[in-house]
Structure formats: C-alpha cells, structure tokens
Amino acid sequence: MCDWCLKHGNGKKWYMNAKNYSNELAKDLDLEDYLTEQWMNFETVFIRKIMGISSKGLGYKLKMPIIGRVLRWLAERMIHSESKNRNPMRADGHFGQVLPLEDAQIILSELAAEPIMENYCMCRWMQKGKKEACCINFGVLSGVIEKLPRFIPKDRVVMLDREQAMERLEEHNKKGYIASVWFQPVPYICAICSCETPECGGLRLRNDFNLKAVYKAEYIIQLDHDKCEGCKACVSMCQFSAIRFIPSINRVMIDYDKCFGCGVCRHACKFDALHLIPREEYPGFDGKY
C-alpha cells in the first residue's frame, strides 16, 4: 500500500476503488475539457517547460549539482500534482502503476467505466514512429479520443466490450508488453496501457531518470529454484533486465531491486517456476514501489 492507496484507495489498492472510475468524479473535476486539451497536445508533453526549464536533455539536467535537485523536486511535484490549476498540456497528475494481468482483468471486467476503446499507443508513435493499437482507454477519455482521428485505427473495431478488452490485453501481455494502469489526472483512472521500455514515456522517466511516473506493482516475482530448468525463456521477456541466466548453476537469478512485478515472465515459463507474491510478503521490499 502506497500513499496513493491511503489517499484514494478507500482501504484497498487505489486501482481497485470503483469511485476512481466513476463518471461523477470526471464530471466533478470537469475532465472532458482537461483531457481534450491534454490529448490534442499529447506529442508535445516532453518538450514543455518545467518551471521555465526546458525538459529537453532532462537526463543531463537532473545530474547537475543543485539545479538537478530542484528540477527533480519540481518534476515530481508536477507528475503527482493534485492542485486545482493543473496544466493539461504538461500532463500534470498523470502517473501510473505496473500491474499483473490478473488485476488488470479485474479492472476491465468489473471496474472500468463504459465505453471501452482501443487506440494507438501515443508513446510508441511519437518515440518509435510505430502505430500499434494497444492502449485500452475507458470512461470519459474514450469520448475524447474518439474525436481525434490520429489515435484511431481505421482497419479494426475500436470499441470493445469487456470480454474483448480482456482478450486484447491478454494478447499484449503474452507478447511481452507490461500492463499498467494510469491516473489521468489523479484521482481519475481511465487507461490501461501495454507498455514497453524504452519508448514508454512513463517508464523512460522511471528507469532512466528515477522519477516516479510509474510505480512498481503491488507484487514481486518469486522463483522456485527447484523447478527452474534453465531454459532462459523468461530472460527475453523481462523489460527491466531483472532476470539473468547464470551458467554455472544452470538456472536464472532474479534481481529483486529491478523487478517491477508485472508478471510477464510467467507467460514464458514452461516449468511453473515463477509466481507473483504480494510485495509486502517479500522481506525488505514492503513499500518499495
């Protein structure tokens, strides 16, 4: 349980609280205009200024002695902003958490607000030049994206029912993409993405610059040493290079500091050696999101 669960979780994990998906909340926060503005300008989000400092070359700027620390503080404050005057063009208050397929399917089957749609992943388009329909959006955001033709695949049905959405997500997850759920903006939840490093904007900030735009999942992977046969199939599935093959012991080793708990490696394991356990049950990793 992180701070966000305490604030917006109502005693549960933040993304399991049905209130965060409700249309009433969206109406209260007047999100239709906010999200339209944000998605109209989505590609420019990384060149917007943080308090007058351009975020171009952010990696170098964060390493500068004093300015770097100030900039980091400002960027974190911007990412997690809950204030009234959030700037939609900088995507203030837009952050998320990695989650395993099972949790994502609970969201899609029970919690997500209709209509549900699948649209092009903007990160993959603006950073890798590829259009791939793999982001599942719901609630108010679907209505917003519907009006923006560049996000909509032309060759397929974009409006999904709950069953189809779950199937699509499973397909992406088995391919190796990480499921992640997003506040947009906090506390409204309206997207489940299938992310990949390095082009995902959130994972870029988290992995390369250690800004908490994406939190690690509520789970962590556990390896059954006796069952692992050393086939190395899971190594290729890990987006965070948390799994390493050690030839002398002929099995894989897990770097728990790097594990995000997405559970994608389980799809590759033929010997049932990998399992997810709640993060707080693993010694020393409670609260390390």
Partner: protein, 84 residues
C-alpha cells in the same frame, strides 16, 4: 563521460524542409534507446496544429544515446549531427 549533443538541421527536416517528419521518421525507427521525439512544433496552436509543416523531430533524451550513429546513416536529408 562527456555530454552527447545531437543537432537536427531544421532547414532540411521539419518546418522548413521538404520532408514531413511523420512520413519519413527513419531516425525514430532505427533508434534503439528512443532518443527522438516526433511532435508538433510549439506556438502554432492558433493556426492549425495538424499542418504537416509544423511537425518536427527533437532529440529530447540525448543522455540515453548510445552513439551508434544509425540515425546519422539513416537520415535521407543528412540533417542529423552528433558530437560530444
């Protein structure tokens, strides 16, 4: 390690060039660490944000550049320069 500087000549690519970055985007496709960002240039909002002349490619994350020079080789307009 010294800073990697990536420069794109916008007279060849983007608003003043003949190529629309959205059609070419070869540098994005070859870049493994995804250093480049393809976006609409700021300040055009009042006119028409989707005008092809208003799109450009910016190397936003030079700190993750691996200096493989694939983008330099891939650019048909020879618009990218890398130095450090």
């Amino acid at each position: 390690m010294s800073k990697t500087k990536i420069r794109i000549d916008y007279s060849k690519c983007g608003e003043n060039g003949k190529v629309d970055p959205r059609d070419c985007r070869k540098c994005l496709e070859v870049c493994d660490p995804c250093v480049f960002l393809m976006h609409e240039a700021l300040g055009y909002k009042e006119e028409d944000p989707y005008n092809p002349q208003h799109w450009r490619i910016t190397p936003v994350w030079p700190s993750v550049c691996t200096r493989c020079f694939y983008c330099v080789k891939a650019c048909p307009e020879k618009a990218i320069k890398i130095s450090w």
